[in-house]
Structure formats: structure tokens, C-alpha cells
């Protein structure tokens, strides 16, 4: 069934179709309409779940951790400051091996106050052990919610799916809402492998000696690596039922491209148009969309970029004192390759700054004209 809906409601529909059982939530702009819609679904009985109106994001994630440890399929959503407040518990969810799924609406962190799009919030959580998917469209948002549960419950690690503030969260698009029975076939009811069980009592998370502690961390990394295989299969199975798939990355016009632009989120859609225009002019340019950020899709990235002469990475975030965060990741992925492109880091689109076709074209032209990438990122747009 095709419905016109905003990105936030695409999240809510994905959650309803996934038959989530517990939803602890706290409001923050621009995430609010996700949980408002879910509270409606719960109130009308469209979704048989406990909706817990907690008093903070920290408690939202703590509450998710409790519910998931009890064996329930669990979801929450947040943004920006809320995600930052959760930080401690993001690590806990991973260490406790709980398959919680969360939507994060990418929003800038203050100060100064700013409610618009920026990826610093989710990229700051890179090392918490959550899988991360950056979505480009409302359809991809809905589908990724469902896929996230499939993957998380297999590898016992939490997943964060990420959508752009306003450009997706509050923008209506036509979305093909999957049939509930098909989703049930794809994602059966959750049966936790490990849970708090009075008939089989265990202590979870108690003090571990260094040898055990490192062993547990090693298992997390092993399962993160395994998540690539699991996510690939989840995407293929999704395609066989719903006739849509996304991959970890998407290489667009990368064949024979001298310069490849790398980016994520809604900027990808604008970039496609720019690439089409430049290709019409005979320029050898391509585009690589990064959808899965953790685990990092090394093979896909290396495969797409290894033959290019130059790569321009457009980041909507900055690691102060270093460079764009996606740029760092791409550089590290390419470093040990025998043939590798020059990699340029561009920062733009912070705090909701509109990334126009003009800006994207400027970035591509700038990278083409510079012989050597500067050590520092190149800032495009904004007032000094």
C-alpha cells in the first residue's frame, strides 16, 4: 500500500510492522512525531506494546536495556542532545549484547542552539558498538527499521538507523508500506536467546577479570564483523519478499570515474542530479553513497574507489582538530591499497546549511583543480 508520509512516520510504521513490544521514549525536536505516532498506535491497539513515557533520554535507553534484557523487542528514537545524553547507556546496550533498535534524527548539537540537520550527533557515537545505517529516503527509512531488527537479533548487537532532520524527518514522500503478513514472514516474533528468566537464573554483567573482559570485547568485534554477512543476507531476503534492497554502499556512475564524490544521507539525492549534469558535460565523475557506517563496509568502499584518481568526501560533521569523520574513515580504508586515490575532505551542511547542487559542484571542481589534498578539511559555505 502506497502512503504519503513524512520520514518520522516511516519510522513509526516500520516499528509497528516489526511488532515492537516495548517503547520507552522522551521527546526531542525533530524526533517527536516518531514517538507521537507510536503512542497513537499503542493507544488504538494497532500495536500491542508498552509505551513508557520516561523522564529523560538516559532513562529511555536504560529502560530499553531492561526491556530487552527481559526478552522483549525494544525500540526508541532520539536526536542530538538526547543521543549525547544516552552515550553511557549506548555502551551498556552493546556490552549487555541487547538487540535494541533506535532511530536517530540527525540534528546539530548546541551551543548555539540549532535544531537542523548535522551528523555530529550519531558520528560521535561511532565507537559505542552500535551498527549504524544512514538513510536517504523515507522508503529506505521504513525498510531499514525492519532490516535492523533482523540483523540485530541475529548478531545480538544494537542498531541505530539515522535520518536527516527535516530533509527526511518532516518531508513527505510516497512510501510503499509492506504488508504486515509479509513482514511477519521476514521478521518472526522475537524469541530472545538469553534473557532474565526466573526458571534459569543468571547474573548479567557482573564483575569480570581482565582476561574475561577482553574476551567479551573480542566477541563483540567478531559479531560486528559477522554483522556484514548477516546484513547482506538480511538485505537479500528483504529483496526476495519486498523487491527492494539497498546494499552497504551504492556506487553511482563510478565506472571509469576519475573523481568520485562520497557522501551519505539526503545529500546523496542532490549529488545524483549533479553527477548526471556533469556526466552530460562529459566529465568523468561518480558518486558513492555510504549507507552502512558500522560495521564499516571496507570491501565495497575499496572496490568502488580504488581505480579513481581522486575522491572528494563531503562530511556533514567535523572531528575538531582532525577532519571530516567520513573522510577519515575512507582514508583509513584506502591506506593499505596498492593503488589508491588522493582523498579530499570537505565540510559543509552543518547546522542544516543547505547543501545545494551549486555547493556540490563547487566541491567537485575544487577537488579537480587541486593537485594535492591539503592536510586540513576544506570548508564550503557558511559565514565566518
Amino acid at each position: 500500500m502506497i502512503k504519503v508520509m513524512i520520514g518520522n512516520h516511516a519510522v513509526s510504521y516500520g516499528v509497528m510492522l516489526s511488532r515492537v513490544q516495548v517503547i520507552p521514549a522522551y521527546p526531542i525536536t525533530p524526533q517527536t512525531s516518531i514517538v507521537e505516532e507510536l503512542s497513537e498506535f499503542c493507544a488504538d491497539g494497532h500495536l500491542n506494546a508498552r509505551f513508557i513515557k520516561v523522564e529523560s533520554e538516559h532513562s529511555a535507553m536504560a529502560c530499553c536495556i531492561g526491556a530487552s534484557a527481559a526478552g522483549a523487542r525494544t525500540f526508541t528514537a532520539t536526536s542530538s542532545q538526547g543521543l549525547a545524553l544516552m552515550h553511557e547507556m549506548l555502551h551498556w546496550a552493546t556490552g549487555a549484547r541487547l538487540p535494541i533498535v533506535m532511530a536517530n534524527v540527525n540534528r546539530a548539537l548546541g551551543p548555539p542552539w540549532n535544531i537542523w540537520n548535522d551528523q555530529t550527533d550519531s558520528l560521535s557515537q561511532r565507537d559505542t558498538g552500535w551498527l549504524q545505517f544512514y538513510c536517504e529516503s523515507n522508503q529506505e527509512v521504513l525498510d531499514t527499521v525492519i532490516q535492523s531488527f533482523k540483523i540485530s537479533e541475529e548478531v545480538l548487537l544494537p542498531t541505530m538507523l539515522v535520518l536527516d532532520a527535516f530533509f527526511l524527518s518532516h518531508t513527505a514522500e510516497a512510501v510503499d508500506v509492506p504488508d504486515a503478513q509479509d513482514v511477519d514472514r521476514y521478521l518472526p516474533r522475537y524469541q530472545a536467546r538469553y534473557r532474565l528468566d526466573v526458571d534459569n537464573p543468571h547474573s548479567f554483567g557482573n564483575l569480570a577479570t581482565p582476561e574475561y573482559y577482553q574476551g567479551f570485547r573480542n566477541k563483540i568485534q567478531d559479531d560486528m564483523i559477522r554483522a556484514r554477512t548477516v546484513a547482506k543476507k538480511a538485505d537479500e531476503d528483504f529483496e526476495s519478499i519486498f523487491h527492494r534492497s539497498y546494499g552497504f554502499t551504492e556506487a553511482y556512475q563510478c565506472e571509469g570515474a576519475d573523481l568520485i564524490l562520497v557522501t551519505s544521507g539526503t545529500v546523496v539525492s542532490t549529488s545524483r542530479i549533479v553527477i548526471d549534469e556533469l556526466r552530460k558535460e562529459g566529465r568523468k565523475v561518480g558518486l558513492l553513497k555510504i549507507r552502512m557506517f558500522r560495521p564499516f563496509p571496507f570491501d565495497d568502499v575499496i572496490g568502488a574507489l580504488k581505480d579513481a584518481k581522486k575522491v572528494a568526501v563531503l562530511d556533514r560533521a567535523i572531528s575538531f582538530g582532525h577532519s571530516g569523520i567520513f573522510a577519515q574513515e575512507i582514508m583509513s580504508a584506502m591506506y593499505n591499497q596498492p593503488s589508491k586515490p588522493l582523498i579530499y575532505s570537505y565540510i559543509t551542511g552543518l547546522g542544516g546549511l543547505d547543501v545545494t547542487p551549486r555547493i556540490i559542484t563547487d566541491i567537485i571542481n575544487d577537488a579537480c583543480e587541486r593537485d594535492i589534498p591539503p592536510q586540513e578539511s576544506i570548508w564550503i559555505g557558511g559565514k565566518s
Partner: protein, 291 residues
């Protein structure tokens, strides 16, 4: 007097508490009453260690360790998670120290109480951050030494009146209890188990290590806390109905203070000042309470 306490034990020997630890007795008495259909939540506290080192646990019911400020929110989640799977029978017990309750976890506790989440929250109160080495908390009493309130500048503010604060949330049941009076404690746990909603138990739990007292005297100290009116035993139903459960014998606070090295620096004036504060608080309680 014969004990009415159930004798089934859920804590095994080999736990890692200090000798004379009140927090172990508190957990033991509570689990004796709650039984095997109980899930326990432990935030960062002495109990994070007492439970034992992986792969061992000293507790024979499911136990979930969590971050310092999250006992009430994790307990809310566990209850919801069990409930939606059809298990409405299991009791969820959050078991937190005074730091996790009065200080860092207070926001989450207040939120859960306002929502009237269906669990028992126990604060085992040893009146400082004992697991990290005896730093002051807002449960530390006036005049006490801790490692962050040295004797030249002991705690200069009264203990936070947590039970009244919790009662002000109009939760169905809030009560104080003491490890020195296990029958009273057990009766309160049993009562809490039978009530729907948030039940808060504030349990006086001496710490010989942090209080600089003898392990052999912790029960005596806990008894004196009740009978000097330092820690009266009372309960509050639905936020308004106060009931004092044990009439104190009106022993001077000096008798309580002198068994604990953490009060050794106090002058006669200091002790008189503490006696005055204790008497005032007792009068305050009497105005609200029924015997």
C-alpha cells in the same frame, strides 16, 4: 519470640562483602520473602562487587547489573518487558545504595515513581559512597566524617529526607526498615509485594568499614539508630498516611554516635546540636504520624 521469616535462602556463601556488611543482610531478608520469582537490578554499588566475579554469582535469582543512575529506569523496562510477554507474576526488585538513590539516580527514581511503575525499589543506606572509598553522599548525616568531609570540615548539611520525598510522589507504599529488625523488614517486604505500583523501602544498613565501627556491633548500632530516633521505623501509604511502626526508647544520640569512629571528632556542643536536630525531626514526624 519466634521468627515469622521464611527460611529459604537465595544468597549463597562466598559472596564478596566485608565482614559485618548490612547490605548483605538486607538483600538476604528481602529475597527470603520475595522468593524465586524475582528479578533483581543492581546499579553501581557495593553490590556490584558483592555478587561475585564472573562466571560466579552469589545470588540464586536472575540479576542484572547496570550503570549507577539507572536502577529505576532499568527496573521499569524489565517490568514492561516481562509484562508484555505475559509474565505478570515476577517481582522486579531494584536494589540500590544511597548514592544511586539520593544522588545520581534520583531523577530516574522520581520519574519511575511519578509513573507509578510496578516494582519494589530498595535503598540500602550506608550513608556514603562506600564502594569508592567512603565519600559523602546526600544521605551522609550531619557531622559525619567521610573521605570528602574531613574532620576539619565534616558534613555540614542534614541528611536528605528521602522517604518523605518519595512519599510526596503519592506512591502506594514507602517505608523505612532496619537490618536490626528483620521481622519488621520482612513484613514490609511482604506488604510491598502485594501492592501494585511503586514501593520504596529505605533500609538502614550499617557499614563497619566506612563508619569505623566494629563488625560485631552493627546490629547494636542499627538498633540504637531506631531507639535514639536517628532512624525511626515508619511507613507512608499513598503519600499521606504516616504510621510509626516502633516506639523509640528515647536513648540519647550520644550512645549511637560513640560506637562509630566517623563521629569521634564531635565536641559536646556538636553532639548537643545533633540531639536537637534529631528531636526536631522526630517532632516533625509525630505531627504527621499515627501510632
Amino acid at each position: 519470640m519466634s521468627s515469622t521469616m521464611p527460611m529459604q535462602e537465595y544468597i549463597s556463601p562466598g559472596h564478596m562483602a566485608c565482614p559485618g556488611c548490612g547490605a548483605v543482610l538486607a538483600m538476604r531478608y528481602i529475597l527470603n520473602v520475595l522468593g524465586e520469582k524475582t528479578v533483581v537490578v543492581i546499579p553501581a554499588s557495593c553490590w556490584s562487587v558483592i555478587d561475585g566475579v564472573f562466571p560466579y554469582s552469589a545470588v540464586r535469582v536472575p540479576l542484572f547489573h547496570t550503570a549507577f543512575e539507572t536502577a529505576a529506569s532499568v527496573a521499569s523496562g524489565i517490568k514492561a518487558g516481562l509484562d508484555i510477554q505475559g509474565d505478570t507474576e515476577t517481582t522486579v526488585l531494584a536494589f540500590a545504595g544511597d548514592g544511586a538513590t539520593f544522588d545520581i539516580g534520583f531523577q530516574a527514581l522520581s520519574g519511575a515513581a511519578e509513573r507509578n511503575e510496578d516494582f519494589i525499589y530498595v535503598c540500602y543506606d550506608n550513608e556514603a559512597y562506600m564502594n569508592t572509598g567512603v565519600q559523602r553522599s546526600s544521605a551522609t548525616p550531619y557531622g559525619a566524617w567521610t573521605t570528602t568531609t574531613p574532620v576539619r570540615h565534616p558534613k555540614d548539611r542534614p541528611k536528605k529526607r528521602i522517604l518523605e520525598i518519595m512519599a510526596a510522589h503519592e506512591i502506594p507504599y514507602a517505608a523505612t526498615a532496619s537490618i536490626a529488625y528483620p521481622d519488621d523488614l520482612s513484613a514490609k517486604v511482604k506488604k510491598a509485594k502485594g501492592i501494585y505500583g511503586t514501593k520504596f523501602l529505605h533500609i538502614f544498613s550499617p557499614c563497619p568499614t566506612g563508619w569505623k565501627s566494629k563488625s560485631s556491633q552493627i546490629i547494636k548500632i542499627a538498633r540504637l539508630a531506631v531507639h535514639t530516633k536517628v532512624f525511626p521505623l515508619y511507613e507512608v501509604e499513598n503519600g499521606f498516611t504516616f504510621h510509626i511502626n516502633m516506639e523509640p526508647k528515647n536513648i540519647p544520640v550520644r550512645e549511637y554516635l560513640k560506637l562509630q569512629g566517623r563521629f569521634a571528632h564531635l565536641s559536646e556542643e556538636d553532639i548537643a546540636d545533633i540531639q536537637r536536630q534529631v528531636d526536631e525531626e522526630w517532632e516533625h514526624l509525630l505531627k504527621r504520624a499515627l501510632y
